[in-house]
């Protein structure tokens, strides 16, 4: 009997994260080929620009439904910056807003079946986090000069444990880059892997046949609940990434 289970069920649940070079391009020895990751990144940028301009096109005082969604989106980012960075943070608001948009769109586009989640690759999230980290340090040096190193010494620390506190503060300062990028990366990867495995269950249950064809409703319902959870996590992780960037920026601007 031709077993459809083998052919359709892909090699492993992680197979969905493979980067496939679509247009191989060699530029001075560098592999600049256009891969499915870059295509989906371009797609999410184009979509966010397209949707924003479309919504702002007919700007009405009483916002239509699309415009109110955009306003909510704008407003959450604004309160985010206002709460965490205060007045001096308004200079960085455009950057924070674009950061929030790009991660949100990458995460949400990743939820579409057969699409590719750009943020499920450590290269993308770590590159983004490192760029922000270097930027934050530059801002720190520019605003505080050499006094910037007092960031490792919180106020009111008794003298004799100062070296210990400085060491721990230094480690947790350096570690921020890794935690912020691995958090986004790991959430996206294992969330999608979980969906793939449960979907695999449904598929193998159907292909076994017999009573299992009815039993596959259970993992199917579970799959629906998990898709809801995944969309929630996609929104949440974009928000958390942006919030932590604001908090780290605030740590640097306002020396405690």
């Amino acid at each position: 009997m031709y077993n459809i289970n083998q052919t359709f069920f892909s090699a492993s649940p992680l197979e969905q994260f493979e980067i496939i070079p679509l247009i191989p391009l060699e530029l001075f020895g560098l592999n600049m080929s256009l891969t499915n990751a870059s295509i989906f990144l371009i797609l999410s940028v184009a979509l966010s620009i397209f949707w924003s301009t479309l919504v702002i096109y007919k700007n009405k005082l009483v916002p239509g439904n699309w415009q109110s969604v955009k306003e909510i989106f704008y407003d959450t980012t604004l309160t985010l910056v206002k709460d965490n960075l205060g007045k001096k943070g308004y200079r960085y608001f455009p950057f924070i807003f674009t950061l929030f948009t790009i991660i949100l769109y990458c995460n949400l586009i990743g939820m579409v079946p057969y699409s590719f989640t750009v943020t499920s690759h450590i290269a993308f999230t770590f590159g983004l986090a490192l760029a922000i980290y270097i930027g934050i340090n530059i801002i720190g040096f520019r605003t505080h000069g050499i006094k910037f190193f007092t960031i490792f010494l919180p106020k009111g620390v008794p003298l004799f444990i100062v070296p210990l506190v400085v060491a721990i503060e230094f480690v947790s300062y350096v570690v921020k880059v890794f935690t912020i990028s691995i958090r986004l990366f790991a959430n996206m990867t294992s969330g999608h892997t979980l969906l793939k495995i449960i979907a695999g269950f449904v598929w193998t249950m159907i292909s076994i046949g017999g009573v299992f064809v009815y039993l596959q409703i259970i993992p199917l319902v579970l799959l629906l609940a998990l898709v809801g959870l995944e969309i929630g996590i996609a929104l949440l992780q974009a928000y958390v990434f942006t919030l932590l960037t604001c908090i780290y920026l605030n740590d640097v601007l306002e020396m405690h």
Binding site: S12, L14, T179, I182, R183, F185, A186, N187, T189, S190, T193, I233, L236, Q237, Y239, V240, L243
Partner: protein
């Protein structure tokens, strides 16, 4: 890759998943304290729910560190 290494990877990944224990309790604690805090002072819509979700997201991240480690062991 020979079998002993393959089976050691299985056991290693299984061990790494034990790291999820604390996170299960952590998420329970965060929502438990949300419920108590809400009953004490139901001025909800301001920061209360926001902090719980933030706390949940950051606790979730620890679970994902452990899972990422498990995947690393399993597949590399």
């Amino acid at each position: 890759m020979n079998v002993t290494l393959q089976s050691a990877k299985m056991i290693g990944a299984g061990l790494a998943t034990i790291g999820l224990t604390g996170v299960g309790a952590g998420v329970g604690i965060v929502f438990g304290s949300l419920v108590i805090a809400y009953s004490r002072n139901p001025s909800l819509k301001n920061e209360l729910f926001g902090y719980t979700i933030l706390g949940f997201a950051l606790t979730e991240a620890i679970a994902l560190f452990a899972l990422m480690m498990a995947f690393l062991i399993l597949f590399t």
